[in-house]
């Protein structure tokens, strides 16, 4: 039998109360949302907090608001709800693709978007498209709040910008402008319940239906200690007209932007090659969406 470490459990009724608790407990406490990461880490004795503070049932952390040119998603919005949301699908198709690919239906019913970010795994399914869309996260503590670009949020495997007394409350994603699109593909061993081998999200915006690419963001997972941007691939897209051959060129450039390692999931050389393929294909999806 797998034993959990000993801890005290708290379920504050409001966010204010939770912020108060995190302020008091600091590093001795861990937040639990869906628990699909934390429970596994605690069972493996990789984490043994003295206090566990549950936030999964707070309505204030479960909102979805798409007004004023921004999509705001509460940290405790579940992955199942993301996968099912037509609204998310229409505005942020690549994010929904990632949500549908995460774990199993059983896991998705528990797992939250905030937890997928908070856990800071370089293989996680939601950060690539969120970063490609230019998302920010709102970090709150008793004394105030700050918004941090997801680009600058991850510091290493399991490490983030979050302070021990902070709670990630909301994810803010600018609604993509017209003639913009994004794509996400995750490559794994099986269709469900696996850890990604490589995952890539691409976003492009053009200055018109037949125009040139004015901005591009490509984010690669599993090929570095954090999700990596592909600067040279992005650079070769700017000012160019979209085409198969341009996307192939960007794919080649992306293989130089990533730093995968050999591990039991796959060889570094294979992951590098697949990063190129997925970059090309996700750019194709992004372009199709941009012109539709």
């Amino acid at each position: 039998m797998m034993r959990l470490p000993k801890f005290d459990f708290h379920e504050p009724a409001t966010l204010d109360e939770a912020l108060q608790m995190m302020g008091e407990f600091g590093v001795r406490a861990k937040l639990i949302a869906g628990g699909t990461d934390l429970m596994v880490n605690m069972k493996h004795q990789l984490m043994s907090p003295e206090q566990v503070v549950s936030i999964s049932r707070m309505d204030e952390l479960k909102g979805l608001d798409t007004s004023n040119g921004m999509v705001r998603i509460g940290a405790c919005f579940t992955v199942a709800d993301l996968a099912e949301s037509e609204e998310v699908g229409k505005k942020l198709g690549a994010l929904r693709t990632g949500a549908k690919a995460l774990g199993s239906p059983l896991i998705r019913n528990l797992a939250t978007i905030g937890g997928n970010i908070g856990t800071a795994r370089p293989a996680a399914d939601l950060p690539p498209s969120l970063m490609a869309y230019g998302a920010k996260v709102v970090l709150k503590k008793r004394s105030g709040e700050r918004a941090v670009s997801l680009n600058n949020f991850f510091k290493g495997p399991g490490l983030t910008e979050l302070q021990p007394d902070e709670i990630l409350t909301e994810i803010q994603i600018p609604t993509p402008p017209p003639h913009a699109g994004a794509g996400y593909i995750n490559l794994g061993i099986r269709m469900a319940q696996d850890c990604n081998l490589v995952n890539v999200a691409s976003f492009i915006a053009m200055d018109g239906p037949d125009g040139v690419i004015t901005s591009a963001r490509i984010v690669m997972g599993c090929v570095g200690p954090i999700h990596l941007r592909a600067p040279s691939a992005e650079k070769c897209l700017i000012g160019e007209k979209p085409s198969e051959s341009l996307f192939a060129k960007a794919g080649d450039a992306a293989t130089g932007d990533c730093t995968p390692i050999d591990d039991f999931r796959g060889a570094a050389a294979y992951k590098k090659a697949m990063t190129g393929v997925l970059t090309k294909r996700t750019l194709g999806i992004a372009h199709k969406e941009a012109v539709s």
């Binding site: 699909t36 429970m39 199993s104 239906p105 896991i107 269709m191 319940q193």
Partner: protein, 153 residues
């Protein structure tokens, strides 16, 4: 580490129980309440043998703390049977030969039941997706898929 009293509804019956903070829902069900129809395989969310329906949604009860189930409605395999005997989905599993050793069956049946409540006429792809968090080491899945498909409208 203090025990706390929680109240929850399991299979339409109200319970009030004292639980440890580090006790999981599956352990509460099996060891404190004797509801051993819920199985425990991996304890890590991988196998689905511990599937229960919580507030209408199938979840891995090995990843839920008992205290997180406070105030919730839980359905376990023991709650699926009706006054008229086995539930149609249970009958279908038996008739189609979808049960061999039976270790996965509680979870499979609950995942299948939750699917049919959302989508009364699922196709094969829908069914395979819905049971993708439930592992079976015996049947090869085909008969389980057929048993669920049989109940489509």
């Amino acid at each position: 580490m203090k025990k706390k009293l929680i109240s929850l509804t399991i299979n339409d019956k109200a319970y009030e129980v004292a639980v440890e903070p580090n006790q999981t829902l599956v352990d509460l069900l099996r060891y404190d309440l004797g509801l051993t129809g819920t199985k425990k395989g991996c304890e890590l969310g991988d196998c689905g043998s511990c599937t229960v329906i919580m507030d209408g949604k199938p979840v891995n009860s090995c990843l839920v703390l008992a205290m997180q189930a406070n105030g919730r409605h839980v359905t376990t395999i023991e709650g699926v049977e009706t006054d008229e005997g086995l539930h149609p989905i249970q009958k279908s599993f038996v008739e189609k030969g979808a049960i061999q050793c039976g270790f996965c069956s509680s979870g499979m049946i609950l995942s299948g039941k939750a699917l049919l409540e959302r989508n009364p006429n699922p196709d094969e792809a829908d069914i395979r997706k819905a049971i993708s968090g439930n592992l079976c080491r015996c049947t090869g899945y085909q008969k389980i898929v057929e048993a669920i498909k049989e109940l489509g409208t």
